[in-house]
């Protein structure tokens, strides 16, 4: 790519997060959580510190303390992501997050333990609040799949589903679409 005169070229790391994957970076990034079902993709950023993180959680809570694969569970995954972001220079109170996913099967009764998407959503919001992280915007529920993407240079968070693409919010300036 050739930059036009005066234009600043930003090289972005491309990160794709599948279920149970966690990544924290201290550089410009484009992070995507593709094909979400009941899992929830959490993309977070402290834009001042230029520290960005993402994780895709599949269940609300770890079955036992110290359980394997802490990245899979909302309680342990979010704690781990925030801890790693702070280690790289982020301040928890400056972190903004966008979340997506939490779908369920058609006609699942709310409050059923089988509505995993809703249970995940409650747990994720609870954990983010506990760590002092603001959820700027969400695209949660329904019975369809979607992807969420964060481009740190612009701050833009985008949701893609089978119908198309739509902006969700901006983690850099705090704007909500």
């Amino acid at each position: 790519m050739v930059a036009a005169r005066g234009e600043r070229l930003t090289v972005c790391t491309q990160v794709v997060l599948n279920m149970g994957a966690l990544q924290v970076v201290h550089q410009p990034t484009s992070m995507t959580c593709p094909g979400l079902g009941s899992c929830i993709g959490i993309l977070a950023s402290d834009p001042e510190a230029e520290v960005h993180g993402g994780v895709v959680v599949m269940l609300p809570s770890a079955p036992t303390p110290g359980a394997a694969n802490p990245e899979r569970f909302a309680d342990t995954a979010i704690a781990k992501m925030i801890e790693q972001m702070v280690e790289l220079g982020a301040s928890a109170e400056n972190i903004r997050a966008a979340i997506a996913g939490g779908a369920c099967m058609f006609g699942t009764l709310s409050a059923s333990p089988l509505d995993l998407g809703a249970r995940n959503a409650v747990a994720v919001k609870q954990q983010l609040r506990k760590h002092g992280v603001t959820v700027l915007a969400e695209d949660i529920g329904g019975d369809h799949t979607r992807s969420i993407r964060y481009d740190s240079p612009t701050g833009q968070v985008t949701i893609t589903n089978v119908i198309g693409e739509k902006p969700l919010c901006n983690l850099r300036d705090g704007g909500v679409a």
Partner: protein
């Protein structure tokens, strides 16, 4: 909308319809029959050299962690068991076409495979949780449950947004919309294909009733295992297409297996572990297209 199509029309007019090698179909029938044994399974498989080569490579994958290399089919059947070899034969037989994109369902390359393989692994896990005697027979059923989509895809190209709108308007599941549009859903089309392949009845029923296990006329634990595994696989987002999760879940399937909704989180966690372990099957090799 073309409700005048027959099942035969749909299957016969679909170009590039997948086939399963005759040797693999014979192995499936053999392992389901009372007379099936290591020798007959090996001799059926040996009729197809390409399939045999792929099965041997899978047998020697890191997943099985064998002390020494398995050199021939007889040995593979003895070491791994005839049902494991049957499952490997089906993986080798279906991988080349299950990895192709299905535009009609908005599935990219390998997404159909991810879903089919996840359901295969999940069905086997659920059967073992329910302490069913032959948990490994569920694998093939899981692998094949959505084969009808391979035939229906071309008929649904560019129709998904309109189908979802219809589903929302009339409060229908996606398979109900397929029936409204084409006269048949992917489960019926898949079962018809399985009948043409002369697959055993429990497998045909698992394909036919995987979205509505309560409608199955016989007691068939394979149907219930595949239904629950399909639910788990969709929930975890393995190979979700434009139809998403717009299907019913019939909780009675859990009850028939002596399970209930409270085991779901444990099942989901174990399911993802199993899928990750199984990925070792493919770690050191690429199954070439047929």
């Amino acid at each position: 909308v073309n409700p005048t199509l027959t099942l035969e029309d749909i299957v016969n007019k679909t170009p590039d319809l997948p086939t399963i090698p005759a040797a693999a179909l014979a192995v499936v029938r053999e392992t389901e029959s009372a007379t099936g044994n290591a020798n007959t399974v090996a001799s059926h498989l040996a009729q197809d050299q390409a399939l045999t080569a792929r099965v041997l490579r899978l047998s020697n994958s890191a997943y099985y962690g064998l002390q020494r290399q398995v050199m021939d089919l007889q040995e593979a059947v003895v070491v791994l068991g005839m049902r494991s070899v049957r499952n490997l034969a089906m993986v080798a037989a279906t991988y080349p076409w299950l990895t192709k994109p299905l535009k009609g369902y908005c599935l990219g390359p390998k997404e159909m495979w991810t879903h089919a393989f996840g359901t295969a692994v999940g069905a086997q896990l659920i059967a073992s949780k329910a302490k069913l005697a032959e948990s490994d027979r569920m694998f093939t059923a899981g692998l094949l449950h959505n084969i009808g989509k391979v035939a229906l895809s071309i008929w649904l190209e560019n129709k998904i947004p309109a189908m979802l709108a219809l589903a929302t308007r009339d409060n229908l599941t996606f398979n109900q919309v397929e029936r409204k549009l084409l006269g048949y859903d992917h489960a019926e089309v898949g079962a018809y294909m399985a009948e043409q392949w002369n697959l055993p009845k429990p497998l045909i029923q698992a394909i036919r009733y995987h979205h509505e296990p309560n409608e199955c006329p016989d007691t068939n634990t394979t149907v219930d295992c595949v239904h629950i595994a399909d639910f788990l696989t969709m929930s975890m987002g393995f190979g979700l297409g434009g139809d998403g999760l717009r299907y019913d879940f019939q909780e009675e399937a859990l009850a028939r297996l002596g399970l209930d909704a409270t085991v779901f989180d444990e099942l989901a966690n174990g399911f993802v572990d199993s899928v990750c372990q199984y990925e070792e099957l493919f770690q050191d090799m690429q199954l070439e297209a047929a």
